[in-house]
Symmetry: C2
Subunit: 234 residues, 2 copies
């Protein structure tokens, strides 16, 4: 039996993180998937995450409760309306109200805690610098700075490097891909995107609104990839 | 009325963070205290944090639930026994089992989310590089790396700096102080240390064990400061 390496994979239930999980499995890692119940309005995404974790044979799927809504400040965790029907230019022009304060920082910190307990060195997150909807914590500079910090923060970083072990790495395999490329790559690996939910404002049964930034980017991706869009729209 | 600056202060209910809160108030900030229910065995510390926040006139005190115990791996969040009666040399020799994986990274990330919503730029944490009980995430290098990351992670960091606003700062006012100096400074500012709990393994009514690393460092601090120790021991 080969000695499979462990990886922690942040899994939202969306299209990007499902693709990341498929890439991680394809690379031969044992995948420990991590999702968050963080006060988001669209909790159907957690059901999607569970389906994806099972379909792509994650060794484990943990859902951690964390009350980001206690701080307020985002359309995704409060009553502020989700913007609809914006063009790509408008999305790129500013940090949108769907931005959850410090979300990727918080999620990666918890992934780091999980990795440390598992003695895993590899953390995967599906951030994307192209179709990234304007979030500051999706940029390569942020990821690089987080990685430096992570290696100073942890027992694994400190003792591991002293003992010559590999450093902790934050992997961002989608960082330079556009949505169409992500969809094409995942489809090659057999990802069933009908299981995933990208919508910021889905109906109670999980049907997508088709008009928020995330739905618009996703639709455009399937069109550009020349693949059928399996998303259920309202 | 003066325009008071807002600060986020991590408040554990222990001696160090109570001193930090007193320093923050003395410096004229409005203090927004933040504590965590993170699966710790010693939840009496949250009652202590609430007492301290009130006594030192924090504007707000939020307690956020976060289930670090779901990951396991620490004597503070699991059934692993807390070590007792160790000398200072033994404490310094290794990262102890009371280390909670990536704890300060997780706590500072949530403080960053809170600061972002408050539009605060100043985050205070009572870490200490001297009597630090061997935790990697209490070192100055870690704090500096976190600060760099925080300014790349957030809307406040990105838009604020573009607009010429002050960067986000992680303040560590106790970093170079020993326990005796911390106690002396806090006593000058009127901190009632009888309200605080440092013990890793307190009794149900909050009485300290007197023998864990944290109790031993605290006792030594009062002795060296030449001040009476108001701690209730079992």
């Amino acid at each position: 039996m080969t000695d499979q390496k462990k990886a922690v994979v942040l899994l939202s239930g969306g299209l990007d993180s499902a693709t990341v999980l498929a890439l991680v499995r394809d690379a031969g890692y044992t995948a420990h998937a991590l999702s968050f119940r963080y006060g988001q309005r669209h909790v159907v995404e957690l059901e999607a995450a569970a389906r994806v974790a099972e379909a792509l044979e994650a060794a484990e799927h943990k859902i951690i409760d964390i009350d980001l809504a206690a701080f307020g400040g985002s359309a995704l965790t409060s009553d502020i309306p989700v913007p609809k029907g914006r063009d790509t230019k408008a999305m790129e022009a500013e940090i949108p109200i769907t931005y959850v304060p410090a979300r990727n920082t918080v999620f990666l910190s918890l992934a780091l805690a999980y990795a440390e307990v598992l003695e895993a060195r590899d953390i995967f997150i599906g951030v994307n610098a192209l179709d990234y909807s304007g979030y500051p914590d999706c940029r390569p500079d942020f990821i690089a700075a987080f990685e430096v910090m992570a290696n100073l923060a942890t027992r694994a970083g400190v003792e591991g490097q002293a003992a010559g072990a590999a450093p902790i790495r934050i992997h961002v395999p989608l960082i330079d891909m556009n949505k169409a490329q992500i969809i094409a790559r995942g489809s090659d690996l057999g990802v069933d995107y009908g299981m995933t939910i990208s919508c910021y404002d889905p109906g109670p049964a999980g049907a997508a609104c088709g008009a928020c930034d995330s739905c618009l980017l996703r639709k455009k991706g399937f069109t550009e990839a020349g693949l059928p869009d399996p998303t259920r729209y309202q």
